[in-house]
Symmetry: C2
Subunit: 284 residues, 2 copies
């Protein structure tokens, strides 16, 4: 079965979906994106993703090429045409095609691209063994709150992790604090059971899944602290994990070689993941 | 006459030149570029541009999809097919098309794109009146020595300049020093006639035109200092200007509203520009 992509008004075979070489997304990374999970044919936290997309667009002064209701219709159509029940939809909007010149073009029609792909269900046995994380310097720009396609530092960071046999790299600012992962939000559990994740600011992305876990943590009456934490504090944490729309919650069992907890997924991490699974199953 | 672009082995009508939506240049700004000036049908400082391109590619571990001699042949062919004598050639190389995933794909063929366009000759009367510059915070990532397409902060900076009626924005680091312009290198002339531009490092791009002017300055026996300078020092400079492959040398007559010198292009700036013009005319 062939995948279908959407590009500016047309549904195309994925393999044939193209954009012009002078699309500003291609020459300047002048655009934004969202990745939304599809669970049993339904989008998880669609509202929150679209709200963040709008915020990212506003930050770059890109005007959505259509009303949001029209875009929602296309999103549903893309999911339908790709004929899967579990996967993701990827939405990218750039400032559009214009003669190459750094400043915004006087006129340009933003480019809207959507792709979708199936993803396999999580395997809890695999999850329990956890993953390794390394830490790297956070060399990104100072507006990481915008979900832009200017992702080269994230790419290099993720590759550094892979080269060292790790699944993710946590980025550390000049003061020694963990900001976030290259494509995930970072969390730790303190020795006395408080959940800790960096507070929102221009140095991290306001993760939709991060924010959903915060709600779940409140509902379960666990203690939460949105604050900076150092690499040292992370290494001495009782549990550690990261969250994202595609990975949900992934337990971390090693940070820069230091074993976290007993080297297996922490019990609180698994409890939260199960609560998130429940949330997803009741979300529609 | 229609423009011709090159994309991965094919010469195409510019308007029809496209890349796949999952080109990593489009989704991750995972690529690099060069802009080379064409003067009377010849490329200016071709060697230096290609050397820098190779350095940028190496930094990202992208392997040039062909030998450099083959690429030079394509560059010449692109210029020839576009049938102009004075303009620029734009070269972009990305890691290629792959299923979206931050880390490097196991296999991908880098994408090579070239475009060309005519540009008008400089008008010295216009140059003499100079341009306005504003200063903004340097919010870019920490590897600005790589000429990557991850240019969103540069785009936003240039637009901020345009919004304030200025031609360029000079970026200022946390310590208050000017790093460079959003697409140009920044220079000042001290009250006693020394030429000053920031030293090379990971915070600025090694401008080919910057480096060419350094050679010219040495040949003309002017004093040069490659060192940091503050906004305050710039405002009190005798002259100020910026350099780039497409703008050569552009005199700056106002920085954040402060008039530089007598509000017209400085005499040393014009002398250097004329020397650069001579260099270009003798370069082939």
């Amino acid at each position: 079965m062939s995948r279908v992509a959407y590009v500016n008004g047309r549904y195309l075979r994925h393999a044939e979906a193209q954009v012009h070489i002078e699309d500003r997304g291609y020459q300047f990374s002048d655009g934004v994106y969202e990745v939304i999970l599809i669970k049993n044919g339904h989008m998880i936290d669609e509202e929150q993703h679209l709200k963040r997309l709008q915020k990212s667009l506003s930050s770059l002064e890109i005007v959505l090429p259509m009303k949001q209701t029209a875009m929602r219709h296309i999103m549903k159509e893309v999911i339908k045409r790709n004929k899967f029940q579990n996967g993701i939809i990827y939405i990218q909007i750039t400032r559009g095609v214009a003669a190459r010149e750094h400043s915004f073009p006087k006129y340009s029609n933003p480019t809207l691209v959507m792709t979708a792909r199936r993803i396999a269900a999580k395997n809890y046995n695999e999850i329990e063994s956890g993953v390794k994380v390394i830490t790297i310097d956070d060399i990104r720009w100072k507006r990481c709150d915008i979900k832009s396609i200017s992702l080269l530092p994230n790419v290099l960071g993720k590759q550094t992790a892979r080269n060292q046999g790790a699944y993710e790299a946590w980025m550390v600012d000049a003061a020694g604090y963990v900001t976030e992962g290259t494509s995930t939000n970072a969390w730790i559990v303190s020795p006395d059971g408080r959940l800790i994740t960096a507070e929102l600011g221009r140095n991290i992305l306001s993760g939709i899944t991060r924010n959903r876990f915060i709600k779940i943590i409140h509902e379960l009456n666990y203690k939460l602290e949105e604050r900076q934490f150092s690499v040292e504090e992370a290494k001495n944490a009782r549990e550690a994990f990261f969250t994202s729309s595609t990975s949900f919650l992934t337990p971390v069992t090693e940070i820069d070689g230091a074993v976290i907890g007993n080297g297996r997924a922490g019990s609180l991490s698994i409890e939260l993941l199960k609560a998130y699974d429940n949330y997803m199953n009741q979300a529609y």
